[in-house]
């Protein structure tokens, strides 16, 4: 086994283990902490695929910002002491459905012929090239994405705000 393979399987196991923790943990705060583990492991996979920029974005936005929002939401909605109501009664059915979905996806992956399997080097994209593409060729989607973020920001404030009448 080469070093790259060891790293891949290590991070893949961490990501899947973290994902299992997210969906199985009886304590909501532990589930949020397992989500951080899973997201950081995915960042490691990105580095393995020579996408350092995306790994940094993943750690900053997912590992930092989004999980902190989750922990704040858990704190504000006080669910940590309601642990028995976290998992619904229909979990065997859901487990069967998701296992079936995973089997289908894995079969599709295994039986398909993927192009570029024997591709040579995975080249790392330099940050300046990525930035030029993002602000040149992809400028319109970039602007729309910033608009979406602005709308989400305003919307979140309006929705979560305390009204005088309440």
């Amino acid at each position: 086994m080469t070093i790259a393979q060891v790293i891949f399987y290590l991070f893949a196991a961490l990501a899947v283990g973290g994902g299992l923790g997210v969906v199985l943990m009886r304590n909501a705060v532990y589930a949020a902490l397992f989500l951080i583990l899973s997201l950081l492991a995915v960042a490691g996979i990105y580095i393995l695929l020579a996408s350092e920029f995306l790994a940094l974005v993943q750690i900053l936005i997912y590992g930092g910002a989004i999980t902190v929002i989750f922990l704040f939401a858990l704190m504000l909605t006080r669910v940590a002491d309601l642990s028995e109501s976290l998992i619904g009664a229909q979990w065997p059915l859901a487990a069967g459905a998701s296992a079936l979905l995973m089997g289908l996806l894995a079969t599709a992956v295994a039986t398909s012929d993927w192009p570029g399997d024997a591709a040579g080097e995975i080249t790392s994209i330099p940050f300046p090239v990525l930035g030029e593409a993002l602000f040149g060729q992809w400028a319109a989607p970039f602007e729309i994405a910033s608009l979406v973020l602005l709308v989400a920001l305003i919307g979140a404030i309006v929705i979560a705000r305390e009204e005088e009448g309440e």
Partner: protein
Amino acid sequence: MEEARSVAQQIPLEHFLVLSAILFSLGVYGVLTRRNAVLIIMSVELMLNAAAINMIAFAAYTAPDRFIGMIFAIFIITIAAAEAGLALAIVLRLFRNQGTANVDEVDELKW
């Protein structure tokens, strides 16, 4: 000569796709079983991450010089951030109005 081989030759593309499929299925399971709205959104984040892994893997293996998959993944993360902020604001509002974040108890569509 082991070291001279690239990552692409050591790990087939399928392994990344299977990892992504496992994470996506875990997310589906979480969305179906979790009863707390915050935990459902956490499972949705798992599914979004699985999709992003797919994008990156295809970008790296099939068109490494055009990195369109990377751009897509950046937009996925942007949308995920917006989605998490908005959804958690809605959950907070729900909790304030109904006193619960349990989706089984919130089935009236109006109040």
